[in-house]
Symmetry: C2
Subunit: 551 residues, 2 copies
């Protein structure tokens, strides 16, 4: 296998660990807190998780641990979208297992949770592991989005686990995957099986965090990669002085990625979905906000700039949410009639009569290309595919219209030429930053200690992340502690609560304090490419979000 020079060099990187994990494993004891409660809906969750609800927090301390050196067989699953560092979770888990007992075995389930259901598995050996240390991607064993949901799937998972003689399953995933881990842990307990389940907090989106999980892994590397690109584009904008760049950033519902990138690059505008929702902003108001910056900068002869847009924005704009819901209803209800309408103009005229007055007005205000996208790109259930909406182009189109109006009134005399970008896949499989390489390795090693100590239904937890790695604090957080009940597909389901951007949190406040200045005055920052070597202030810094949250 031919590999790049960087990949070869990264093989030699030794991830840093909390000091507790660097000594003999038999010296790692568990200190338990008091029983915990879920963040909401305690009664419902206690009923659903009869055997696993309310366990105490676990923290590693120096002490005797006799169980830890016994021979173990563990299976590991990568679940959901890629995030940099997944391979190092496996490496930390592998090295921990082998340190505990050289005869312990680690099996990798192929292609995500379906690997467990269908018993598709590979044994991880030294040579195999060494090919993936400190690398990006989930290509070592693949990932998948299958959920273990039906009774048959749970039964099949148990059957695989028993067939393979597993002591434990480690699920590396986001909020949904870890909800699944909690259900699987409960299922095994209910069936009287000793197979343990441990989760690890993964997602570039940064929305799996709480009091005990300071950040999900991958967020650091992904935001640094996007910030590299945004900074490069800012520098280009400031050099050519002729384009406004509208950059959409991956991140699902939450705006953590956009916010972190804004803190790293200081663009003229960064929209935050959570704020749009809280303030009930209309598309028109968002466009006005952008145009305000464009007009002021044009007055300073700066006909260029950068706008960051979180992927989930349109769903947080109340009027768009309403329009999309109405479109979904109408097209489901009048599927045949709608299918009989030929051409966009005919469809638009028909919708004009069927939509509520408010939604009809919003629909009519959309640039034609976007309106067409809403009608054409539908999922197999006929629903509008919100993630396919090119929000960056939608906003460019509406800004152009608004600026043309302002030009007529004489309040704007600048030039506006815009370019659209979308960054997402570029950052999910980068080589993990030193921070993510260390953090994930520690998470994996911690998962081993939790397993070897007999715990189940826990999320691997490594805290105090803004301190040097040797001072990090390792332990476990009961999965049920992070859960509440939410409406999903018409019924209440237990889920890990998603962390959205908090408008009274320090990262947002730091941004809000500066954005009026950034909107007018060019204040771009150019972070450059992620560095794995060099001065510590260049290559070892955590995200600004994490630093601010800890300040």
């Amino acid at each position: 296998m031919e590999i790049s020079a960087l990949q070869k060099a990264r093989y030699a990187y030794r991830p840093k660990l909390p000091v507790i994990l660097t000594g003999p494993v038999s010296d790692i004891a568990i200190e338990f807190g008091t029983p915990t409660e879920s963040v909401a809906d305690q009664a419902d969750l206690r009923a659903l998780f009869k055997h696993s609800y309310g366990k105490p927090l676990a923290r590693f301390v120096k002490g005797k641990n006799d169980k830890i050196t016994r021979r173990l067989t563990v299976g590991v699953i990568l679940s959901g979208g890629q995030a940099p560092g997944g391979h190092n979770v496996i490496a930390g888990l592998y090295d921990g297992l082998k340190k505990g007992n050289k005869d312990s075995k680690l099996l990798g389930f192929l292609g995500g949770p379906s690997g467990l259901i269908e018993n598709k598995v590979v044994e991880i050996t030294d040579a195999f592991m060494d090919e993936y240390r400190n690398t990006g991607g989930f290509d070592m064993i693949g990932s998948g989005r299958t959920k273990i949901e039906t009774p048959e799937q749970f039964a099949a998972s148990l059957e695989t686990a028993k067939k393979l003689g597993l002591d434990a399953v480690v699920i590396i995933g986001g909020d949904d995957s870890n909800t699944n881990a909690a259900l699987l842990a409960e299922y095994f307990l209910e069936k009287g099986e000793k197979i343990q389940v441990i989760g690890c907090p993964k997602t570039i989106d940064g929305d799996l965090k709480n009091e005990h999980i300071e950040t999900s892994f991958g967020f650091d590397t992904a935001t640094k990669t996007y910030s590299e690109l945004i900074g490069n584009i800012e520098r280009d904008a400031n050099s050519a002085k002729k384009y406004w760049h509208f950059i959409k950033l991956m991140g699902r519902s939450a705006s953590h990625i956009a916010l972190e990138c804004a803190l790293q690059t200081q663009p003229n505008i960064c929209l935050i979905s959570e704020e749009v929702e809280a303030k009930k902003l209309s598309l028109g108001q968002i466009v006005d906000q952008i145009c305000d910056s464009i007009v002021k900068r044009a007055a300073n002869k700066e006909n260029f700039g950068v706008v960051l847009i979180p992927e989930g924005l349109v769903e947080f704009v109340p009027e768009m949410k309403k329009l999309i819901a109405e479109l979904n209803d109408l097209m489901a209800h009048y599927a045949d009639e709608f299918a009989g309408l030929s051409g966009f103009e005919t469809q638009a005229a028909w919708l004009g009569k069927k939509l509520s007055a408010e939604s009809a007005k919003v629909f009519a205000s959309l640039p034609a290309e976007i309106a067409k996208q809403l009608l054409m790109d539908r999922d197999p259930h006929g629903n509008v595919q919100v993630s396919r909406i090119e929000t960056e182009k939608l906003l460019i189109g509406m800004v152009e219209q608004r600026l043309a109006e302002l030009k007529k009134t004489g309040s704007y005399t600048g030039k506006f030429s815009a370019l659209a970008h979308f960054f997402g896949y570029e950052g999910r499989c980068a080589f993990p930053s030193n921070f993510d390489a260390d953090y994930t390795y520690a998470l994996g090693f911690t998962a081993f200690v939790l397993i070897a100590s007999g715990l189940t239904g826990y999320l691997s937890s490594v805290k105090n992340l803004t301190a040097p790695a040797d001072q990090w604090v390792a332990g476990g957080v009961p999965l049920t502690m992070m859960m509440n009940m939410e409406q999903r597909h018409g019924s209440k389901k237990p889920v890990i609560r998603k962390a959205l951007v908090e408008l009274d949190g320090k990262p947002f406040k730091a941004f809000a304090a500066k954005r009026a200045e950034w909107a007018v005055k060019t204040s771009f920052l150019f972070p450059g490419a992620i560095q794995y070597y060099g001065p510590s202030e260049v290559c070892d810094q955590p995200t600004k979000t994490l630093i601010l949250e800890h300040s």
Copy 2:
């Protein structure tokens, strides 16, 4: 001014120089070769460049140079699109001038060549220079695309130069800008003025190179940045195993960028415009080539992959070139009639009757979105804007159609889901790689030596670039030597000959030898982010193109 940690660290980087440039400047003598000839059209060019044609090659050697320490005033211009390293050309020139004589002055013309015409200028001081060392972008003095063409512009340029007491002008630019440098040098000589003109070879596109210019600066950094992103996307594709990514890459007409990125990342497909033209491939043949890979990979259950597409592709497809020419003619000739046609269907029907049979067939075969783009996105002269054509989406649409046909015949049973990307602005303003930082600094210093030695009409030249920097060979190449006559806007003009990808050159041959394997077998390489620190094999390597050309 707030700056990033990397920017601060990069300020401290000391670019490496050829050994000849590291000693006392008065020990750098010039060794001249014999008179040179242009690459073609010698008689025409000799007539056009009466005072500057045919000068000898210049090479720096150890020896006495008395002139070099005299006090000089030099103006510098950044011309055209951004390329990483522009600021270091200025730094090398500045440091050379100050080393020669501490009272020498460097003036920066603002916003490109128009700064010279309009006398918009800033003096470069130590403090100002230090803010831009080893940084990306052209924001130090800005750039622009104005050409010095009319007699008035030439006269105004001379007037500015005299007003400022300039000894020389340095133009940092691509083939067009350096053609302009040659014309300006000739103009000053013709007017009996002693103002010298020196060019520096800039362009990320890599198409300004020849026997004496091994590469243009910026190509190294830009291709490394794009390759980082392509590699990350490849790793994502190989992890998720569900998308084909179609990635268009900046680079104007030439496919050097796409080829270099292919050598660095080993994608399944990389189209090379020069080959498409040489083999007179139709869109259908290109689509067949892509589908062949998709079908074979699907048979191996690999329903994912990566396709690289050079920006200029459509202009190299003979049938598309013809179609675009016909559309431009028709829409110019029947402008009013065409403007009266409402709706795409009406326009398409009208065109169906007016286009030649061949072009009508091609037009009808295009996905609707692309056909609409051809008719809508026209420049102020009414011409189709080729650079706006979303070739990546065009190919996706045509591949989908073709796969649907193959599915009917039973010869394809895979799944095809595609994502489109375009990388360009992300790479033009990155922090220059160590290679580009060193190379540009050496080019700037070399420009100083050429000026101080009294030369004009030369391009700064640094050769032997695959050796360590101390072994690089510095000198100057007469601009007229690289020129020929080409048809531009209806008349023959002197221009520097553009270097396209040579199909019998080593880089293309290395790619061609491997691509059949890459098309079927996943052979991705993940170069990762540009590193400025760390092991030399990671942070100091030139491009594969340069290494192959020197092998």
